[in-house]
Every structure is written in C-alpha cells, then in structure tokens.
Amino acid sequence: MKFSGTTHKYGRDIDTDVIIPARYLNTSIPEELAKHCMEDLDAGFVGKVQPGDILVAEENFGCGSSREHAPISIKAAGVSVIIAKSFARIFYRNAINTGLPIMESPEAVDAISDGDLLSVDADTGTITNETTGASFQAQPFPPFIKDMIEQGGLVESVKQKLLR
C-alpha cells in the first residue's frame, strides 16, 4: 500500500477523548463519527483534512479509552496513515483491527513539519518527506501481526478459524 498526502502534525498523548468525544458515541456510522474527528483538539481539522492526508504525532498516540470509534473516525475523515513516535496499546490493536495503517518512526516524526507533503510505502515501511527530500524507515510489524493483516484482519481471521 502506498499513500501520499499533506501532514497534519500534533503533539504527544493525543487521547481518544479528543479524537472522538464520548458525547458523539451515540452512533457507530463511520461518516457521522468523521464529522467530529479531533474536534476537541483542533476544531478546524475536519474542514481542512483531504482524502489521503497523513496524521503525524509524537509519543503515545491514542491513549485513554478503548473506543474503536477513534480509529474509525480518523479513517472515515480521510486519513490514509498515522505516523507516530509510539502508540498506546489498545489503539495500536484497534487500528490494525479496523484497517487503519499505522507506523512507528521517532526519527521521521522529528523531521516532519505540519503541512509537509509525504509519501509512504506501508509494505516496505519507507516514509519520504517530499518537502525536504529526507527518507526514513519505520519499525516493521511483528510477523504474527503481518500474517493477520494478510489474512484480511481479525474479523476475517476469526471467520476462517470458526468455519474450519
């Protein structure tokens, strides 16, 4: 999978309450959740994000609540991939399970500014900052997770196991 888009960069400890506040969890329709994505952190986000754009953040992205609505709303808002220095544990699993690509690369995050144009190859883990020309290598997924993604995610993998 290859992505390219404009960077929207945020700080550390971006929690799932600011990604999608609980007051909007009265629906599980992705498009409805997308309307309020990042609202309590950056009310202008939904207005400026374009399909394919890339979220970049410091450490511990997605900390807090286990709500899967968080990666769902980010994906439905048009974000193609999140690059962070690190992810909170539950968000990490939820992103994989909902098919939202995520990459960990502290070096890349330090060398990317808000508004930079990026191109990303999720298969090789290569992140290129087209604005500056710098290139980085993200941490690869552990083999177990890679296999699960290749099987089509957790839903597909459970389906296959139960039908067997």
């Binding site: 600011v18 506040p21 544990r89 389906k159 039908l163």
Partner: protein
C-alpha cells in the same frame, strides 16, 4: 523514588532467546497467568493465543462488537455464562441514538443468552467482580480501557477494542503479547487524609502517561497489603493511565474474604516467583506522599495539593469505577456529615453499583450526603464520560474522583477537570475551592 534497573527488557529478551542454554528465572504474575491460559511456557515478549475466562462490553463499545460478530458470521457467543454487556456509560439513555444502541444490546442478550446488566445496575468494573464473574487467577478482556481494575483481585484483566472483544466473545480465545512487568512497591505507611487515589496519581506524575506502555504493573509493599480491596481497585483501575496493560496485585486473605458469597467459582491465586524478572522496579516511600491533584488536561499533570489549594470550583463529582465504592462514599460522608456543600457548588454523587447504593443507604451515608447538599444520580459512569448527568459550563473548574481529566472529557472542552481522592473532593465542595482534606484527619 528508587529505580532498580534489574534487567532491561532487551536483556530479558536476550534471556528468552537463550532459554535452551541458560535456565530461565522465575515468572511474574502475568507470565504465570498467560502460561496457564495458553498451555505454553509463556515468557514476556511471547505472542500466545489464550483462553479467556470472561468477556465484557459496555454501551459505548458493545454495539460495535455486536456488529463485528455479524461481520464474522457468528450467531452465538462461545459461552453465554462468560459474556456480559453492561449499560453504564449513558444510563438511563439521554438521547434517542443511545436508546437504539441499548435496544441492540438487549436483543443480543435475548438472542445469545449473554448476561445483560441494564440501566441502573452500575458501572461494569464494579459489577463484574462484585458478581463473582471473575476470580483470582483468571484472564479476562473487556471492551473498556479500565478493565484493568480487577488486577486488584489478582485477575489479569485488560481493555480491548470492540473487534478484539467480538473475537473473544465468538471463540473464547484471543491473541496476546505477554507483557514485560514493572514492579511498583509502596513502602512505609499512608498518612491520615491520604488515600490509595493519591498513591496512583503520584505514580502517574512520576512516570507519565506512557510510563508503563505495553507493560503489566505489579503492585507490592506493606502499603498495598494494608489497603482494603475497595482501595486497591482504585490503584489497579488507573494502571491504564500510565499506559499499562494490567495493574496486578497478589490475592491475600482480604481478597479471599471479599469473595465470600460472590458466586460458585473457586479462586486460584497466582503469586509471582521470588526470582521473577521485571523490566523495571520502582520503590516509593508512601509516608512522604501527601494528597495529590491531577490538573487539566492530563492525568500525569500531577502536583502535591499545596500547589493548587484555593482554586475555585463550580462542581464536585464523587463516583466512577475509580472511586464510587462503599469506602469512598463513607470517606466523603464522614467529612460532610452535619456540614453544607458551598452555595456556588453542585456536588454530584453516583454509587458504582446498585448494591453499593443500597449498602450506602443502609449505612446512612446517602442521607448524610444528601442533607449536606449532594445530588445523587443513577449508579453508572454518569458525568465522568460527559454524556449526561452534569456537563460543566464554559470556564468552570470541576474537582472529581474520576480517572481522566482530558480536554472535553466531562462533555465540555472549555471546562477544567481536576482529579483527587474522595476526601479531597468532599473537603473541596464544602469550601467551594480545592481544599487539603488533612484538616479533617487531625
């Protein structure tokens, strides 16, 4: 704080790779529970598929899990006696969208036989251990991040998303990475007016919101041994606030006594080996820790209370899966008995479960609180998640016993949430400003 870098994770993984050559050291609580539930000799870093003893979801997360089960083509749960769905986050429903979600949950309960805790039963993290659904030695997952609460009763319990929850409901199994463990020891003794909430807020301030990410914390020491089970749950509940996967404690005589009369399941306590390997060990002297406050808008933005005393407040909140238990209501009632909540403050109280509500009524705590000016709302999550029952106004400060103070958490991103112990909240609502509770503990 003393930090003992006994073995860094990298050296632990080196040992794992060499296991055929060098005899491995002992196991942590997490490693033992994952070994028993996966049928393998599990060590930190291993990925295992393990049997879960229980799966739980709440009204924010269950509808997505039910939808994931539909996508999996699954019509039933692996064992109806081991699955429960709880309506606690927006309960009773404040809006028709949530009413529809509650209907989906009730229909799922009827179809599959999964246990439904309907509106008014209380917060999932009180109900699950209270009903004896999980016992010491168990492994369980819940679609709520504060599922780590039952670590206090020696259960490896951890929060997962809805799709993971659905996979566990369907198959009774889930994949896990066996976590490294961090050993946190509280030595000394709690001073009067200082509570378990202050201990965990202090830890958050010391190690930060990602200080234990991907790790299980084991809590040890004389101070933990002295705490009641209620007070221990406050600590384990907030393990997630430092990124931890679990907040485990040993099961002792108090734990086993707490389980008397709570169902048929037999506890199988798991102790760590004396030579267990920890990624890191931290030791704190509790005697030197005073009341702590987490300031807006981060749980690790912690100060000793002296730094924020006098901050005006418009609302106080006593309750939640962190501090809505009987002991918490007693602490507040003892301070507020015969006194009045400040005229400019709304003081909202929610017991963590219907049983606690009844017990607090029986003991007279509810009368004490209401006579002092408290507003009692339905047992449940209430104002903590900002869905209803007390959304603060723009610019208002709130003092709360909850576990999170993120921007917008209580439903208004222009409000400011401070976190403290039940004693700190009770002392503060009397004066209308953040108040050191130690004045009530002479």
């Amino acid at each position: 704080m003393r930090v003992t870098p006994e073995l860094r994770p990298s050296s632990a993984s080196f040992l794992r790779e060499q296991r055929s050559v060098i005899p491995l050291p002992g196991k942590t609580i997490a490693e033992k529970i994952f070994s028993a539930h996966s049928g393998t000799d599990a060590h930190a870093g291993d990925i295992v598929v393990a049997d879960v003893d229980f799966v739980m979801g709440q009204d924010g997360t269950s509808p997505l899990a039910i939808r994931a089960l539909e996508r999996m083509g699954v019509e039933k749960v692996f064992d109806p006696a081991k699955v429960a769905l709880v309506m606690d986050h927006s309960s009773p429903s404040p809006i028709e969208g949530v009413s529809a979600l509650h209907t989906i949950m009730r229909e799922f309960g009827k179809k599959t036989g999964a246990k439904i805790y309907d509106v008014g039963c209380g917060v999932c993290h009180q109900l699950i251990p209270e009903a004896g659904h999980v016992v010491p030695g168990d492994l369980m997952v819940g679609c709520d991040s504060h599922t780590c609460t039952y670590g206090a009763v020696n259960v490896f319990s951890t929060g997962v998303g809805s799709t993971d929850g659905a996979a566990a409901m369907a198959s009774g199994k889930l994949w896990f990475k066996v976590p490294d463990s961090m050993k946190v020891t509280y030595e000394g003794a709690l001073q009067p007016g200082v509570f378990s909430k202050d201990l965990i807020l202090y830890l958050a301030g010391q190690i930060g919101a990602d200080g234990a990410t991907y790790e299980a914390i084991e809590f040890h020491g004389a101070v933990i041994d002295e705490l009641s089970v209620d007070a221990r749950m406050t600590i384990s509940n907030m393990a997630i606030e430092v990124g931890a996967k679990a907040g485990l404690m040993k099961a002792d005589a108090k734990t086993l006594a707490w389980y008397a009369g709570r169902g048929e399941r037999v506890p199988a306590p798991v102790d760590p080996d004396a030579d267990a390997v920890y990624a890191k060990s931290l030791t704190f002297d509790a005697t030197a820790i005073g009341p702590q406050i987490a300031k807006p808008h981060a749980v690790d933005n912690v100060s000793p209370i002296e730094e924020v005393v006098g901050t005006p407040i418009a609302q106080g909140y006593l309750g939640t899966c962190t501090n809505g238990r009987l002991e918490d209501l007693k602490i507040a009632a003892d301070i507020l008995r015969g006194k009045k909540v400040h005229a400019d403050v709304r003081f909202i109280v929610a017991a963590a479960s219907k049983q606690i509500f009844l017990d607090a009524m029986e003991a007279g705590y509810i009368r004490d609180l209401v006579e002092a000016g408290a507003i009692i709302v339905t047992p449940g999550c209430g104002p903590c998640v900002g869905t209803h029952n007390g959304v603060p106004s723009d610019g208002e400060n709130v003092i709360s016993t909850a576990n999170r103070n993120f921007k917008g958490r209580m439903g208004n991103s222009n409000a400011f949430v401070y976190l403290g112990s039940p004693a700190t909240v009770a002392a503060s609502v009397i004066e209308g400003k953040i108040t050191d509770p130690r004045k009530y503990f002479g």
